[in-house]
């Protein structure tokens, strides 16, 4: 067998963590307990399940804004506290859901407010690793919308030219904010662009965590050799751009077609694990309950943490700097 039960269960839990965390946010938002805009990744959790287990202690990850599966590398309590603007959370609570980061300890790179700009920032991190002769690989995640930004060209050209240890991941979920991919891009697959930079690019069906993991393993291995790679994860976003988005831009015909092409990865994986005799239905329910409890506890703890006050958001130590300021 290519994967152990432990590895397969880990992948399952990552998918459930992403899905259930999004659901918890929806529940809490409806209660009026959360403020801000939240971006869900419903139906694309297999991407995180395939990627996250491969990230080693020397590697750096820049998730994108529908990446709650990346919580598997965070302390969930600190993440939720950060999201709830609590002073004890990550980034002293000023990151919100979108901009949480911990470069020094978790190697969790910041997400730029301008989608598609951090192609460049993360390529710079890969350059730094190379110059400092450090062993890690940078994983830069974007959506298909981010892939239409000009920074892609500069970043991939640079990465190719200098043989940088970086994997570009494009989560092509069929819609960029509110624009269907076919209205923003004239290529059938975005991975084809990599060839223009002498970078290897592949597309992988994103509803099977095993398929994603196999592609990511190959891409990370390639990047460690100094051959940057682009992996396009083909999937479909079964939710709005933000929580509360009515999805007026999505037609029933397209939704039905895309849903058939990209079925829910969680029950699909559950069925496979049961058919292969790896997990029973009861075991799977137990893992989901465990994650649900973990999330509930994190929210409960975070709600009790001190709120961020205005004066805590100011100061030079809140600005990233190599030489001055504090750790964010």
């Amino acid at each position: 067998m290519a994967y152990t039960k432990e590895q397969l269960v880990e992948m399952y839990k990552i998918m459930q963590r992403g899905r259930l965390f999004d659901k918890k946010i929806a529940t809490e938002s409806k209660k009026g307990k959360l403020v801000g805009m939240f971006h869900f990744g419903t139906n694309q959790e297999a991407f995180e399940a395939g990627l996250m287990p491969l990230i080693g202690p020397d590697d750096y990850l820049k998730p994108y804004h529908r990446n709650h599966g990346c919580l598997s590398m965070c302390d969930m309590k600190l993440y939720v506290a950060g999201m709830l603007e609590r002073a004890t959370g990550y980034n002293n609570g000023i990151g919100g859901d979108y901009h949480q980061q911990d470069i020094a300890d978790l190697h969790l790179l910041p997400l730029d407010g301008l989608i598609g700009e951090d192609w460049l920032h993360d390529t710079g991190v890969a350059m730094a690793l190379k110059l400092q002769n450090k062993p890690g690989v940078v994983i830069n995640c974007q959506g298909d919308g981010g892939a239409q930004m000009g920074a892609l060209y500069e970043a991939m050209n640079f990465a190719s030219l200098f043989s940088l240890p970086i994997v570009y991941v494009v989560v092509n979920n069929g819609v960029a904010m509110t624009t269907p991919t076919e209205k923003e891009c004239k290529c059938s697959e975005i991975s084809g662009r990599a060839a223009g930079f002498n970078v290897k690019g592949v597309s992988v069906w994103g509803q099977d965590p095993i398929a994603v993991r196999e592609a990511m393993e190959a891409a990370i291995e390639s990047a460690r050799r100094g051959e940057p790679a682009l992996v396009e994860v083909m999937t479909y976003r079964k939710c709005g751009h933000y929580f509360g988005d009515p999805r007026d831009y999505e037609t029933a015909e397209r939704d039905a077609r895309m849903s058939e092409k990209y079925p829910d990865p969680i029950p699909r994986f559950e069925k496979m694990l049961q058919e292969m005799g790896i997990c029973t239905e009861e075991e799977l329910k137990g893992y989901a309950k465990e994650i649900k409890n973990e999330i509930a506890e994190a929210f409960e703890w975070a709600y009790q943490q001190p709120r961020l006050t205005g004066d805590m958001t100011k100061g030079a130590d809140k600005v990233f700097s190599n030489t001055e300021g504090g750790k964010l």
Partner: protein
């Protein structure tokens, strides 16, 4: 009026094997160029209708746009995008091929790898098929110039050559699981020890248990070439072959994939007469890989039967078709009488 169908797989030549090996990448633009060359060449030879399968990118739609470009010098007037619901999966190729049979198409041009030709074969085994290589392991399809494929397609669409002179049934491997016919392969069937379908490709050759082939030669790549290290079977031979692979000390070099030649341990390689079933009761969890792609999961106790037969698609001999047409004057131009 004759009908040519063209199915171009936008996803062929883009899978994970580009990362694992030095496999060829064929991008959208190149496929579009090939498609255009087929159309232009066919139009120069005869009048016919050309249906292109709709796809996510819209190769046919892009060519229609090109046709409308002021000053475009080519003749794309025969082009029509076939109206059908698309799923953007392999099912589209299967359905399109079956539709070509239903409407009486004279020839089907398939652009892709072994897997794409296999999908088309699942849709029709009656419409003569020209398989063009734009994939990864291309044993069944041929690497050919689009212009040449267009010439042969137009000859068939214009009924300028008898079908029996141009095409013959290909071999295939029919596969049954627990008594039910589940699928077919055109080139190779691999019993793979990896139980996950995953990204479909196989690159850990230690996972290969047994390979059954319709044809094999070391002068190719992929799993048929593994058997090809022991014997050669041509596409016209009235038999297939099979061999087993173990973790024993490698006893031969094999061109297992694009740019990958490595040692393997091969045993019990033998010819397999057409129609002779091979039945195994599986003792481990694994997958059946068809034409290079893991597709079908099996459990211990599952009974897998396969047989090499002549029930494959009608394969067009492109060079032979053109030569027949040439020697029968099909390309000769009439001399206009001068006043």
């Amino acid at each position: 009026m004759g009908i040519i169908g063209i199915a171009c797989n936008p996803q062929s030549g883009k899978d994970i094997r580009r990362l694992l090996t030095a496999a060829t990448t064929i991008d959208d633009m190149e496929k579009l160029n090939i498609l255009e060359r087929i159309m232009l060449s066919a139009a120069a030879v005869g009048d016919q209708k050309v249906y292109v399968m709709p796809d996510r990118l819209g190769y046919g739609r892009l060519l229609l746009q090109k046709r409308q470009t002021p000053g475009y010098p080519g003749d794309l007037s025969q082009l029509e995008v076939y109206e059908m619901e698309r799923t953007e999966t392999q099912s589209d190729t299967i359905f399109f091929a079956s539709e070509m049979e239903r409407i009486g198409a004279d020839v089907l041009v398939v652009m892709g790898g072994d897997g794409t030709s296999r999908a088309a074969a699942k849709g029709t085994r009656k419409v003569p098929m020209i398989s063009m290589s734009t994939g990864t392991n291309n044993v069944y399809p041929e690497l050919m110039e689009g212009t040449v494929a267009g010439l042969a397609a137009a000859v068939l669409a214009g009924k300028r050559a008898p079908l029996e002179a141009c095409a013959a049934p290909a071999k295939c491997i029919e596969i049954w699981k627990n008594g039910a016919l589940v699928d077919l392969a055109l080139i190779d069937l691999v019993f793979c020890r990896n139980p996950f379908v995953g990204s479909k490709a196989i690159w850990n050759y230690q996972e290969i248990d047994q390979v059954v082939v319709t044809q094999c030669s070391m002068a190719s790549i992929g799993f048929s070439a593994l058997v090809g290290t022991a014997l050669q079977v041509s596409r016209t031979d009235e038999w297939g072959a099979m061999a087993e692979f173990t973790g024993g000390t490698p006893n031969t070099l094999a061109p297992v994939g694009a740019g990958t030649v490595q040692g393997v341990h091969i045993e019990n390689a033998c010819r397999l007469p057409l129609g002779k079933p091979v039945t195994r009761t599986m003792t481990y969890q694994g997958t059946l890989a068809l034409d290079g792609e893991r597709e079908i999961f099996f459990q211990p106790g599952d009974v897998i039967t396969c047989a090499v037969t002549r029930n494959g698609p009608l394969r067009v001999d492109v060079a032979g078709t053109i030569e027949y047409a040439r020697t029968h004057g099909c390309f000769q131009l009439r001399q206009e009488a001068t006043a």
